[in-house]
Symmetry: C2
């Protein structure tokens, strides 16, 4: 069986890759959120609505009754997959994995980000007033960009800065 | 702030939920795969192409150069999110999380499943002949079905059986 022609699948990071990653973050209305379940240590993944804080950080409003929120309250380490698969080959469409730490907002920050999220994501108005939903802000510390076959990049938190525009 | 009207968000499993989960598995051409990275213990999530084995198990063909394959070779515990977000509210569309163990095929099973996958997923013919791609078969042990707001179910492996039709 033939070897793949690729020896190192990670390309050197350039401004095109940085811009593509920032555009994926800015355009994401949802994400696949990966967490570690506290009771078993097992990985779990679920879909969440996504928006950006005024500072450009990915954020969401998630139910404390859900498996992902329980997991994040016990272990803030998580990963977010963003970028739509679209039509045709699902692996031909760019996508970005953010390795991140989740932080839950409280007090005035919670109230401000709840209103901000509901303004950007009108469907969230259904549950934005519920006390058992929490505002979560994601601080990415690294990312893996896959811009399509043989277009993989490893990005730092600095590469992602400027996502707010 | 008001409490959510939901007290227990998990509905009793019924045949409609089982059928919806099986249909999501049968129709999935890709998934978000969550794994635990071996070097850090951090969750990671990436998009993979997906099909079903002749026995109805979710399977893929993944590169040993990728982060998810390296993670699964060290720790087979994983989760798969399937179900397209589609148009409109991304949380209104049904999706299914499978908690699973990954197993890599060898020998005759590897050859047979490689050909099977390439027949079902023509784009995979680009890399189906590469020795540094591996056939991975996922054995689900439980699942979380979210059929839309307040339509959550916890499913067992038995509930998922029959996915091959």
């Amino acid at each position: 069986m033939a070897e793949s022609p690729r020896t190192d699948p990670i390309n050197p990071t350039d401004d095109t890759a940085r811009a593509q990653a920032r555009a994926l973050i800015a355009g994401a209305a949802h994400a696949a959120l990966a967490v570690i379940e506290a009771d078993t240590g097992h990985p779990f993944v679920s879909r969440i609505a996504l928006a950006q804080t005024p500072d450009g950080a990915p954020m969401s409003l998630i139910s404390t009754l859900s498996a992902h929120t329980r997991a994040l309250l016990a272990d803030p380490r998580c990963a977010l997959l963003i970028g739509e698969p679209g039509r045709g080959d699902p692996l031909a469409h760019p996508r970005l994995t953010l390795r991140a730490a989740a932080r839950f907002a409280d007090g005035a920050e919670d109230a401000a980000l709840r209103a901000h999220f509901a303004a950007l994501r009108p469907k969230a108005r259904l549950y934005a007033g519920f006390a058992d939903f929490r505002v979560v802000v994601f601080a990415p510390h690294s990312a893996a960009l896959n811009g399509g076959f043989a277009r993989a990049y490893a990005l730092t938190a600095d590469d992602l800065r400027g996502a707010a525009g």
